[in-house]
């Protein structure tokens, strides 16, 4: 530190030597910081999902036994996925809502591939509870979809948030129809 103070006050003939030392000091410090960051990153990244966790990232589902009006819950990446075989009435209900009434505007068409099949991650977008409404005995909320008992969020028949603290619609995962009655999620 004394060296830096000396060079700052203008050391005359020693000026060249001092500034070279300053440069070396800064370069070594910067190299050390980059090195430390490079060493710390593997430690931090080791806490991210591991290869085996990522390998279990897709799930195949057979839809053929699910009748109209029924719903099933499957597990994908440790989370519940809601699959509902919607009735004509439920589809009509979801499609007749004006977009400006929605908290998180999205058309029903944009949330499905085949109109009868609604596929969503069954996790409330508020704080991660599993909403009720899959079983006939469970409450479906004020909009005929799902109701989260933790903090009172109501979702409609398209899984869109209509009332309560949740900020977003239930998430539609990436999925594709392998044939008419089979989908692969993820």
């Amino acid at each position: 530190m004394a060296d830096i103070a000396k060079s700052a006050s203008g050391g005359g003939g020693e000026h060249d030597g001092e500034s070279r030392r300053d440069f070396l000091f800064l370069a070594a410090g910067a190299m050390g910081a980059v090195g430390a960051a490079a060493v710390v990153w593997p430690l931090i990244d080791s806490l991210n999902p591991a290869a085996d966790v990522l390998a279990l990232a897709s799930t195949e589902v057979d839809l053929s036994p699910v009748e109209v009006g029924q719903a099933i819950t499957v597990t994908w990446r440790g989370k519940p996925v809601f699959i509902r075989h919607r009735t004509e009435q439920e589809i009509e209900q979801a499609r007749s809502v004006p977009l400006d009434e929605l908290v998180d505007p999205a058309t029903d068409e944009s949330r499905v591939i085949e109109a009868p099949w609604l596929v969503m991650v069954g996790i409330c977008t508020h704080l991660g509870c599993v909403p009720l409404g899959q079983k006939p005995s469970e409450p479906k909320g004020d909009f005929g979809g799902w109701f989260c008992p933790c903090h009172g969020s109501h979702y409609d028949t398209s899984g869109r948030i209509r009332k309560g603290p949740a900020p977003l619609n239930l998430v539609v995962p990436e999925y594709a129809f392998d044939d008419e009655t089979t989908i692969t999620i993820g």
Binding site: I44, L47, N48, P49, A50, V53, A57, T73, T75, R77, G78, K79, P80, G122, H126, L127, G128, C129, V130, C148, P149, C150, H151, G152, P165, P167
Partner: protein, 426 residues
Amino acid sequence: MAFQTNNPVIRWIEYRMPIFSFVDHSVGSGYPTPKNLNYFWNFGSLAGIALVIMIVTGILLAMQYTPHVDYAFASVERIMRDVNYGWLIRYIHMNGASFFFIVVYIHIFRGLYYGSYKAPRELLWMLGLVILLLMMATAFMGYVLPWGQMSFWGATVITNLFSAIPLVGESIVTWLWGGFSVDNPTLNRFFALHYLLPFVIFGVVVLHIWALHRFGSNNPLGIDVKGPQDTIPFHPYYTVKDYFGFGVFFIIFAAVIFFAPNYMGHPDNYIEANALQTPPHIVPEWYFLPFYAMLRAVTFDIWFIDAKLGGVIAMFGSILILFLLPWLDSSPVRSSKFRPIYKQLFWVLVADCILLGYVGSQPPEAPWVLIGQLATLYYFAHFLVLLPLLGKLERPKPLPVSISEPVLKGSGPVGASATAKPMEKA
């Protein structure tokens, strides 16, 4: 008073490493302590003994516990049924967390009532708050380990709080989990951290005591020690008083362990975790309820901050604001005994915190949402509005000349300290 001994072994060690004089200066006859401390000053040592109990029982439990999602719940049941005295060790550890928080909360409110956070003890106060935050993290992760329904869903709700952070929130939550939901990697790292953090707490406790010994304990009058006539040696006077406190504490602690061990727990945590089924009503442990109430109080967007982030800010802010308390409270008088208005506001704050705790235990419906919002608003107003105003508006009662004066009624060496009187209100 310097440490002295005739024991040759102690003298040999002391010459090479002065550990005996260090102990004597820390908790022995070489540590002068205000002579007027009341029983509320027992709660610091009670917190210390609670930490020791938690570490000892925790290490024994760790030797029987399996941190894997398939075995964790069963290994805790095995501790309860098969391990010799396992039920006792687990019930001590489980209820010990509650008692640790009871003791620490009383310790904190003691500091609030007697102004212990004021100059020159600000850093002592802030180190105590760091200990509180570490305790909360440790308790939260410990509650996840039995892998019951409340463990799992508590962990899900609380880790999801971090998703409220703009832009990087989702990535942080995935990083915390080590997966796409609370699962085996989460349980493993929570176990590792739950074992580590108590030792970090221990380290901060050492710093807390170091800072305490710089100026010594505050006292019920809140005035500075004027000289030797105001103090007594820590040992034997306060060691024996602390031991008496331990005795009373252990009686109450044992009564709960043996007669109502699950009173403060939640029955849903005796159901194994199920990722597909949320319990109908998720509640945290009782010591988190006031904070949970504040989390849920923000049900509306504030400018660009959505309700979810707002709730998280309110919850963490309720503790972070205490770090500023030494500067928010501008009154130079420490003890509430001489602050007639602050004394009343203190009890209103206590009532407000208890009310918040009750609101936190109730489902988020009318009228509890509104009551929670008002109670949260009052909590912040106490620190941000009332305390700064009070420092200017309140007229404190006259302070006694010294700690000895009210005890000795003007006799003894008090006259010597009378010259210090003008300094008192500085």
